[in-house]
Symmetry: C2
Subunit: 423 residues, 2 copies
């Protein structure tokens, strides 16, 4: 397959130009048709045929609408609106890959919105001063390979081709082989690191419930949370459920229950932005008439402030030790993930606020509890992350939904954003 | 294989008679050698070759020591010391079957002790007034077939041969086929229900930790606990661990933790004889970064007083409903086991107490938190259940251990018991 798309006949059913804000909603099912299953879910994993088909269809649409297009070495697709000064670039976009059986909005919406905003700003104001580039990032989800942010990571220098060695998918296909099969030959890799980025703006569906619950059209992200993950192991004593008096027991599940109850309450009282989750729990021997000798569970702890995170995690460890002493059992807490919070650029979030006010679009500041490409760009160049609502907070599901008005408000905001930054 | 044992050469290494109290300890490894694995564990499942071998070896030993032996239709083995009046019978014994990879004491000790007590009382006092029978009950554990107390159940009329229909082991061998293979032909079944039983006395290892912890030689069981088992299902909402604020969550594991913590505390305060165990817990989807939407766990609740059991179980249900309302989640509690408490015979436990005092053997009253054949007999005829200590409360394990002094004290008590009842 040729990545210039010349040999492929792609069914493109929507019009080519000029585009209007009304095209936002129809373009979503169009782009989601690549990799869509009969049940309506979308599976578009990095370097698979449906992924490549989507990128090539987008490329063709960008070209037909007047953007100059190109792929970088890892398959990030760019659509460029050349600036008059051609010195720095305002980059906007999101990721084209999906989770397995995901929805039509996650990632896809940010690409469509960026594409439309570039069209609309050009229609209204002509050629910009600075370059505007729309990007369809090759990978963010980590659904095929045990690695995330392959797209933004290559643009920002977090990753390079050497990181593709020794990474394999579930069928033992290496990342290098998969790249090559999609016609991105690792041997021809040239660093896609961009030195010309003045800002990156990502528009994304919230994947959370706050905007929907509060009937707010726009979320302006202050920061992307840091997260730490732990496994807690409790060792008590397996014993007969009938013959062991309560006072003689070392019941690991009782310990785990007490701990989860107290720690969750503590988190709820401490700070409304702190979230903690015991998501995975396994009990041994897991038999109705045996006191559980061992319990193991995970803790996922997130906050946008590294100091709060650090303090709370220390307290979590201290509480565990105290409880272990009190209940005369052993407990161990091991950290296996530690991602620092990434603040978004303050002038950019201020600009987003100003635009939302001017356009009388309801907005609120929030943090992102989920990871996004914006967190990779946020450590590299001034970055803004904007959300539109997700109905019932649903994401990574064919049930993802955002209504027409919110989708279009997002494009309006982004259009003005590009004007303010690039003209 | 012929159940009269005539065709089998059994290696019997201990002497045949006269027996003394000193034989208690050596007879245990002898009987446990049938069905013993290289690792020292004992697996002697109902109607298997090792089970039959053990019963036949016992039969031979009983005969050589002067007892009249016979099997009933389901394979309970009896050794009879004929009384002068030959009207009623004092029955004593325990079960010959074991769990998979069990120890040398569970069941086996009660048979050996009964055999020796019958020898010793005869040596000392001659022929009894009433019949004394030693019984090696065919099955109690339920380790091969999904049914327990097959031995005592047939003697007391709880079961008959029709209950053997449609019961199969893990290899799809029916209970009827297994009986037949051990030469107990179900077609020749004659009811083993006994109308002549004046008392049943079972001596058993505690399988709990109370006697060992309190350094007591003898446990005199007041009653065998009733037990109820429930499955509790909690339905919340699976959601993103990062993007769902704490106040919006319906976290089923938080609910389960809170409930287990509170209910366990309530039980501990209410009554020291009440035991409750959440032994099995499964959480869905059981993923570190997803709020658990569903949690399911079991509750095993035991007490010797049906009224306490009833009140506490009602309270458990009420607390669950209250918490479900408070946390706006759904919770369901389904009962799948309900065994009533069985009190032991008061004059018999008084007699045991009197004997222990006279013999200056340390004793304490306790309840049995585990099930025993004595609970089946307890609903049929006057029954006593006596315990000797289990080191560290260990049972159903090759590590089961009871020291020589305690083993012998049990035999002494039982000998006197038989004298008091049968002479």
């Amino acid at each position: 397959m040729n990545k210039n798309g010349g040999e492929r006949a792609l069914t493109i059913t929507t019009k080519n130009s000029p585009f209007s804000i009304e095209d936002t909603e129809p373009l979503l099912p169009w782009l989601s048709s690549f990799g869509q299953s009969e049940g309506g879910g979308v599976s578009r994993l990095l370097y698979t045929p449906s992924w490549l088909e989507a990128q090539l269809a987008l490329k063709q649409k960008m070209e037909q609408s007047g953007l100059h297009t190109y792929f970088d070495s890892v398959g990030n697709l760019f659509g460029r609106l050349e600036g008059k000064q051609d010195t720095v670039t305002i980059l906007t976009g999101s990721h084209i890959d999906s989770v397995i059986n995901g929805g039509k909005y996650d990632g896809t919406y940010g690409i469509i919105a960026s594409f439309l905003a570039a069209q609309l700003v050009y229609q209204k104001y002509g050629k910009p001063k600075k370059n505007i580039e729309v990007v369809s990032l090759c990978e963010e989800e980590g659904s095929r390979f045990p690695l995330t942010f392959w797209g933004s990571g290559n643009i920002t220098g977090k990753y390079s081709i050497t990181d593709a060695n020794n990474i394999h998918d579930a069928n033992s296909v290496s990342l290098r082989t998969a790249m090559n099969e999609a016609d991105f030959n690792p041997e021809h890799y040239q660093s896609p690191v961009r030195k010309d980025l003045e800002a990156f703006i990502e528009l994304h569906v919230e994947q959370g419930i706050i905007l929907d619950r509060t009937r707010t059209s726009l979320g302006i992200v202050d920061s992307i949370v840091g997260q730490r993950r732990f496994t807690v192991q409790i060792s008590g004593e397996s014993n007969h459920a009938g013959t062991t008096p309560m006072s003689y027991r070392k019941d690991s599940l009782y310990f785990a229950s007490k701990y989860i109850y107290f720690l969750t309450n503590k988190a709820m009282k401490l700070d409304q932005d702190l979230v903690i989750t015991a998501g995975k729990m396994n009990v041994m021997p897991n038999t109705p008439n045996v006191i559980p000798g061992n319990a193991e569970f995970t803790l996922d702890i997130r906050h946008h402030d590294e100091a709060v995170l650090e303090t709370f995690c220390n307290e979590a460890r201290h509480t565990l030790d105290q409880m272990a002493k009190e209940l005369t059992m052993c407990a161990k807490m091991s950290k296996w993930l530690d991602i620092k919070p990434v603040p978004m650029n303050t002038p950019l979030t201020a600009l987003a606020t100003k635009i939302a006010k001017e356009q009388q679009i309801s907005y609120r500041k929030l943090m992102s509890g989920a990871g996004h490409d914006a967190q990779v760009f946020g450590e590299y160049c001034p970055t803004a992350l904007l959300f539109v609502p997700s109905k019932d907070g649903i994401s990574h599901s064919p049930k993802e939904f955002t209504n027409k008005a919110d989708l279009e408000n997002g494009v309006r905001i982004l259009t003005e954003f590009l004007y303010q930054l690039a003209y």
